[in-house]
């Protein structure tokens, strides 16, 4: 629909017309500001803690564990240079003293949600699965942060 609108505006004499073809669904999924009666009051993007520890695939696991513990966390998100989520070091991996690589220790492809989901809807998703936290990423997989269930309840 928006391409037709863009061309119609040109016929009306508007010279600088742009078409945001991805539309408002994509806008919301990147956590960008929205208004309206169905927009959740608080979203996963609002609740996400962006200071969750992160590490690279090739970092020494012992160093990562030390850094995670020192920061008072029990999890670490494995990212590439583009901040795309590759995996997650869970509580056991972050606490273990086994001699292995980040790549071996991580859980690959963790489940994620978009920043636009409301916190109520996110809680409904977490409770049946007994999940204590959820990763929030943009549609292209970049880390926004981590939402903890105990902070939503």
């Amino acid at each position: 629909m928006s391409p037709r609108a863009a061309w119609r505006l040109e016929t009306l004499g508007f010279s600088r017309v742009y078409d945001y073809t991805a539309g408002k669904k994509s806008w919301g999924s990147f956590g960008l500001p929205r208004e309206g009666t169905s927009v959740p009051e608080r979203t996963a993007g609002d609740a996400a803690q962006g200071n969750v520890p992160t590490c690279a695939l090739d970092e020494p696991l012992a160093d990562v564990r030390e850094r995670v513990r020192a920061a008072g966390w029990d999890t670490c998100i494995v990212l590439n240079e583009q901040r795309v989520v590759l995996g997650r070091l869970g509580r056991k991996a972050a606490a273990s003293d086994r001699d292995e690589s980040v790549e071996e220790a991580m859980t690959p492809g963790p489940s994620t949600v978009r920043p636009s989901i409301g916190t109520d809807a996110l809680l409904e998703r977490m409770r049946p699965r007994n999940l204590t936290s959820y990763l929030v990423t943009t549609p292209d997989g970049r880390l926004v942060g981590l939402v903890r269930r105990d902070e939503l309840e």
């Binding site: 629909m1 928006s2 391409p3 037709r4 609108a5 863009a6 061309w7 119609r8 505006l9 040109e10 009306l12 004499g13 508007f14 010279s15 600088r16 017309v17 742009y18 078409d19 945001y20 073809t21 991805a22 539309g23 408002k24 669904k25 994509s26 806008w27 919301g28 990147f30 960008l32 500001p33 929205r34 208004e35 309206g36 009666t37 169905s38 927009v39």
Partner: protein, 68 residues
């Protein structure tokens, strides 16, 4: 010729060039959810309302739900 742009360029055009985001879906869908700061001119009403409600000197960004 209208240019297709992504969300990064939408943000830049609004912030730096005072672009006018326009949702062309019906009013009900607009009231439920829209880009913050956008105005609503449904596609069928563009011919009548755009010349009255939009400034020709500023860029105009049209959008709907998605690429469909």
């Amino acid at each position: 010729m209208p240019q297709s742009i992504d969300h990064t360029e939408v943000r830049r055009l609004i912030a730096e060039e005072g672009a006018q985001p326009v949702e062309v879906l019906p009013a009900k869908e607009f009231s439920e959810e829209h880009i913050a700061g956008a105005i609503n001119i449904p596609l069928k009403e563009l011919g009548e309302r755009a010349p009255l409600e939009l400034e020709r000197e500023r860029p105009v960004i049209v959008y709907c739900n998605d690429y469909q």
